[in-house]
């Protein structure tokens, strides 16, 4: 195989970068974290550009390019949840300007007449408190439910820009027309690849900020980035990011091509992203010195996004366990 962006993809990446730099600058993220600034306008920009229509799995690489850049910028909108968790569970749901979230467990469906009744409380639902719609995975299938039907409570989490909620279903009636027929297994591959891509983007941001810091911060009469102990940590961060990024795009590519390796590829992407954040967060925070330990420094946003990703959808060790069981040869 040959693993390189083609010219169209490079062009796409360039234009996504431009938009993100302009529309989702660090100041906006800071305003969301400190003052609870609204993100609806930003979401409308994404929708206006057609980014919320990238739901066809064939466009998984193009979506991954957006996700990497948004991960890098600590996107404060529900884009990740909508595109990689809700949409794959709700194919054909339409209305790409509306947001969505996925309820993956904790809810049961009980047959009731011609429909079903949904009961239970799902924990740790990404954007469960602010999505317009929810795709709910149950033993009876996947149902799309309007947010007005449920009670969601946002949890206080360490990432100040991230929305995570407990979502309670107190006897929500659903009908056949709300059942999507989506395959949760496949949807999970997309969710994993998306989360991995977000983490890769966040790790790249940590590396960028760290490089900038070690180039400009002087101690002992020299930029600290000229000290070998610092340089070698930076080099290891770069290798970790490149490794995780390659595996995240590989997962996107297998999804786009509907390649049978996508199950393992998605697990590899999430595992590698987890390993990457472990090293990049540790070295990045260390190399910033006390400056990185402050609320005021923007490093915190990327750090927390990378760490939060590890907590969601299974950590690196869990995915490695799956890979060990399924992989016995490398054929590329």
């Amino acid at each position: 195989m040959l693993f390189e962006f083609d010219p169209d993809q490079r062009l796409w990446q360039g234009s996504v970068r431009e938009v993100v730099a302009k529309e989702c600058p660090p100041a906006l993220v800071r305003a969301v974290a400190d003052d609870g600034a609204d993100t609806v306008a930003l979401w409308k920009v994404y929708a206006g550009l057609g980014w919320t229509e990238l739901t066809d799995p064939a466009e998984a690489v193009e979506l991954a390019i957006v996700l990497e850049e948004l991960g890098r910028a600590t996107d404060p909108t529900p884009y990740l949840a909508t595109m990689t968790q809700f949409a794959p569970l709700a194919p054909g749901a339409g209305e790409p300007e509306r947001t969505g979230a996925a309820v993956l467990d904790g809810v049961t469906a009980r047959r009731d007449g011609r429909g079903w009744v949904l009961e239970g409380t799902a924990r740790h639902v990404l954007d469960g408190d602010r999505a317009d719609r929810l795709a709910v995975v149950t033993g009876e299938g996947v149902f799309v439910v309007d947010a007005a039907e449920v009670t969601a409570t946002r949890a206080a989490v360490f990432d100040p820009v991230l929305h995570v909620a407990d979502v309670a279903f107190g006897g929500v009636r659903v009908g056949q027309e709300q059942r999507t027929g989506a395959d949760p297994g496949r949807a999970r591959h997309i969710a994993l690849a998306g989360m991995a891509m977000t983490m890769v983007g966040a790790c790249r941001r940590i590396l960028d900020l760290t490089l900038e810091h070690v180039r400009t911060r002087h101690q002992f009469g020299a930029p600290i980035g000229s000290f070998q102990a610092v340089q070698h940590k930076a080099a290891d961060m770069h290798v970790a990011v490149e490794r995780a990024k390659a595996l995240a795009y590989f997962a996107a590519l297998t999804i786009a091509a509907d390649d049978p390796r996508r199950r393992v590829a998605a697990a590899m992407a999430k595992a590698a992203a987890g390993e990457c954040q472990s090293l990049v967060v540790r070295h990045g925070l260390q190399l910033f010195g006390a400056m990185g330990f402050t609320w005021e420094n923007d490093l915190q946003f990327a750090l927390k996004r990378a760490l939060a990703g590890e907590q969601l959808l299974g950590g690196a060790a869990e995915h490695r366990a799956l890979i060990a069981k399924e992989c016995h040869a490398v054929e590329l």
Binding site: L247, A321, C327, V330
Partner: protein
Amino acid sequence: MQLSFDAEVEDFRAEFAAFLDEHLPPAAEADRASQSSSDVPEWARRWQRLQFDHGWLLPGNPPEYGGRDATLVQQYVHLLELSRRRIYHSFNPQGVGIVAASLLSFGTEEQKRRWAVPILRAEITASLGMSEPGAGSDLASLRTRAVLDGDHFVVNGQKVWTSGAHDADVLLTFVRTDPDAPKHKGISVLLIPTATPGVTRRPFASIIGSHDVDFNEVFFEDVRVPAANLVGPLNEGWRVANGSLGHERTLLWLSFGERLDEFIRDFEPAGPLDEDAYATAVLDAYALRLLGSAALAQAARGEQDVAGLSVLKLLGSEAAQRALERALSSAGPDGLAHPALTAPYTHLQSETMLGSWFERYARSFAGTIAGGTSEIQRTIVAERVLGLPRR
């Protein structure tokens, strides 16, 4: 981005596979295994010559030098096919991969005919004399002197670590020809036949065991080398050095991929810790292939990123080392047995890569030390890829 190669590349692979199926020497022919980097048994010489004559030895070369003008991507699948079948490319790896390649890039027509072709056809073997006792990572500080005396250079000095020198017919030797110039500017390259009076080779054993003799000290005492054996321009040896190692580096990462693949095939995880390490090796192997193929595609576009290759070497060599350490550890007391083979020896493989887990682990340090240590690679990544300031 593509998950498979273009049809034209697959056709190329199929043609090579058919060649292998038809011509691979049977085990019965292999009466002797190679004992060093420049020891090529008669049967392996015939096999290498056959590949040369069919244009399959180095497919990127023109036909007169054992190739078929293949593209970089075709060269890649050629190596992938060898690696998939665990066929060692050449039992004189430095000779074929570095010495002959340097002669073809920098040598005169006469040097190509007289030395490069015989090395490629395994009529003679070659070793690489770069390192010295005082010049390892800091290769440019090498001190072996060559002084022009009429139509000969007179060489005095010492090399070390020269793999296979005791079995080699010629040494590609880096010497100092201008001691007054800045250190990178006074180096030249000479091709020195080992039979020349004044050349003394002293082979010595490696950490693997007293039987594993590949390293050499090579001493030069008033060795007279014809000036015609100067490779590349006088005092431009540093350029040749970078070229030589460049040849090695473009696809060097693939050898670490092979080590990882062998681990993945041969290691039986027992328990969760093993499985965890095993999965890490799978991730490393995939990531290496993906990044390596991206670098290759970039080079094929004529945008070779030499510093970027350091990422591949670092990732591959250290991943293989981590995996092999785990395999040894997991073997428990059985891992003490030495040199018990943990995989069947077949004549077309490099025997050295099939030894005990101890041997494989120990050999992984060749990957993290030779060809620029991991520390040197990290500095290259930091300064030349990430642009951090130099001291």
